[in-house]
Amino acid sequence: MSAATAPVATGGPETGYNFAYLDEQTKRMIRRTILKAVAIPGYQCPFGGREMPLPYGWGTGGIQVTASVLGADDTLKVIDQGADDTTNAVSIRRFFERTAGVATTERTEEATIIQTRHRIPEAPLREGQVLVYQVPIPEPLRWLEPRETESRKMHALAEYGAMHVRLYEDIAHHGQIATAYDYPVKVNGRYVTAPSPIPKFDNPKMHMNPAIQLFGAGREKRIYAIPPYTRVESLDFEDHPFEVQRWDEVCALCGSSESYLDEVITDDRGGHMFVCSDTYYCAERQAARPAAAAPWSEAGGSAK
């Protein structure tokens, strides 16, 4: 990696670092890994993850993927728990504002790259958009087999019986599959894959999505991908089909009955209400409705 072969650094607003922090050689290595990942949907590709100036477990994999696909004319949206203003989303957005100087947005439809932790936006994504997931544990078989050497073998042989046994045992014990998030999926009919800790509510959005879905796990040094319009099935049984979470209430702010709801505790006497976890979706709906008071807040318990 001599100075002669290194591309000219286009300085971001933060002087002293390359555009989007990572050096071009590292980005090239990550892009190669992404290409491989896209070619083998759902397969976890090892990559030489770097130490980032943010802690492991706080999105270093997603940040490295975003840094590698980000261009100067991209518009970036960062969400955590569906919200643009949670502290870690703010911190990551600020990191890219500082190191790349790219435009940022909260508008899902405006963003060309969306980095997310734990959610897929409610608004449907379109072709050309890139959804980057932050992944803590990329291996869906990890809770069945802690050894990497073994779990890699299981993937190679498509030996997923143990996973089905686990799901079956859940049904036998609890009458339902007791996995509410990070619910395993099968990508393109081949690899069982961890969707990252999104609620299973979001799993159906991964199926045949027009956007590219990239997954980065920094500490575990793995990248995987779901190319546009790829089959993504949540594992289930014929007599116990996959189901997503439902609420009896609607969002107390925008009245949506279709979005994923967060429970907000409003007092210490059991009062609680439900609001959309996707803050941009919720704000848009509130802006679009007539100025009259929200009649929905009654549904959310004792909220006033």
Partner: protein, 362 residues
């Protein structure tokens, strides 16, 4: 009326300001200088350099200052800086046989060529608080210099054993064998010894200490003796392509520990002593010894020993030794998990409702 929590950005900025203020503490007390940390908290600097994998005393001291003395945070700061540095090549392997020794002890032989040199150590101090240190104006004692220079010839104790074939031979990898670099490539298993040693060298001292200790208590026992510990300065040499011969870049301080371990022999090998190896930047004896114990434990596969204990399980050891990784992932639990927790709430409620309905039906 519920209002969504906004203002994360402002809170973060204010938190940064607050921590800067707290770091400085009482303005009536003089600010700590980098030179003071380097000189007077030297062992902390050594640890940060070792686990931060960067030999730079000033930067390590700066990291310690910036982290308010939180050494794992300081190691993280140094690592995040190190990873941005260009690599222009690899040095010639350092030769600890040519070390300018300041301390050298062996627990296997009473007398050895070159002699035992106690050097600076807390080993034989009585751990009584020295209230004299409370007075920061007082005169401190000066070390007396030895009447004779330390012997220039300091053969390694393990080399002496090797002459009789009592200890396994250690053959260097041929120069052309590429050595994996765990800072550039992801770990793969099974891992060869050079990669394991890289991992142990930057591994957390506390984690390795616990694992090393566990081998002494029977979890993968391998009967260790300290063949030799040496501390001192070694030259770092580099061969620039255009010159073709090594030039000296400078000197670094290292601690080396060679453990000598019993080995009863296997079908293919006669009984002989085996080795465990530890090396650190600066003066980190506890770390070097722990590393040597764990290195030996991890060699079970190569020596046909049963791997039954945690310290012998390379995936377990190598995947969990790094304190920057471990600290990040443990502490990420502080990040919001509202969405997943809500998913769990919905599930637990539905399971309780199902159980309630079943009970009512019975």
């Amino acid at each position: 009326m519920y209002v969504a929590v906004k203002g994360g950005e402002k809170a973060i900025l204010n938190s940064h300001r607050l921590i800067e203020d707290e770091r400085r503490g009482d303005r009536g007390i003089p600010e700590l200088s980098i030179a003071q940390i380097d000189e007077q908290l030297g062992l902390a600097v050594d640890r940060v350099m070792t686990e931060g994998s960067l030999y730079d005393r000033r930067l390590a001291a700066l990291a310690i200052k910036q982290a308010q003395g939180d050494l794992i945070e300081a190691i993280f700061l140094l690592r995040a800086y190190r990873t941005t540095l260009p690599r222009f090549g690899a040095s010639v392997p350092i030769d600890t046989g040519r070390m300018q020794v300041r301390r050298r002890i062996s627990a296997t032989y009473k007398d050895i060529p070159g002699g035992q040199v106690l050097g600076p150590t807390y080993d034989y101090t009585h751990r009584l608080l020295d209230f004299g240190l409370m007075d920061d104006e007082a005169e401190r004692c000066q070390a007396v210099s030895a009447p004779a220079e330390v012997d220039a010839a300091m053969p390694r104790v393990t080399d002496l054993l090797g002459r009789d074939g009592l200890i396994e031979e250690e053959t260097a990898e041929p120069d052309e064998t590429p050595i994996a670099d765990l800072t550039r490539d992801p770990l793969t298993f099974p891992a060869e010894r050079p990669l394991r040693l890289q991992n142990l060298a930057r591994g957390d001292e506390g984690f390795l200490l616990g694992l090393g200790y566990s081998t002494q208590r029977g979890y993968g026992r391998n009967h260790p003796f300290v063949g030799e510990i040496r501390l001192g300065e070694v030259a770092v040499e580099f061969v620039p392509e255009e010159l073709g011969f090594p030039i000296e870049l400078g000197e670094i301080t290292v601690t080396e520990c060679q453990m000598v371990n019993q080995f009863k022999g296997s079908k293919t090998k006669p009984a002989q002593f085996t080795r465990g190896y530890g090396l650190t930047f600066g003066h980190c004896e506890r770390k070097a010894m722990s590393m040597a114990l764990v290195d030996r434990a991890l060699r079970c596969r190569e020596l046909d020993e049963d791997a039954t204990a945690p310290a012998q399980d390379e995936e377990f050891v190598m995947m969990h030794s790094d304190n920057v990784e471990a600290s990040g992932f443990v502490q990420h639990l502080k990040l919001p998990h509202y969405v997943d927790f809500q998913a769990e709430l919905v599930m637990v409620r539905s399971m309780r409702a199902a159980a309630g309905a079943k009970e009512a039906a019975e």
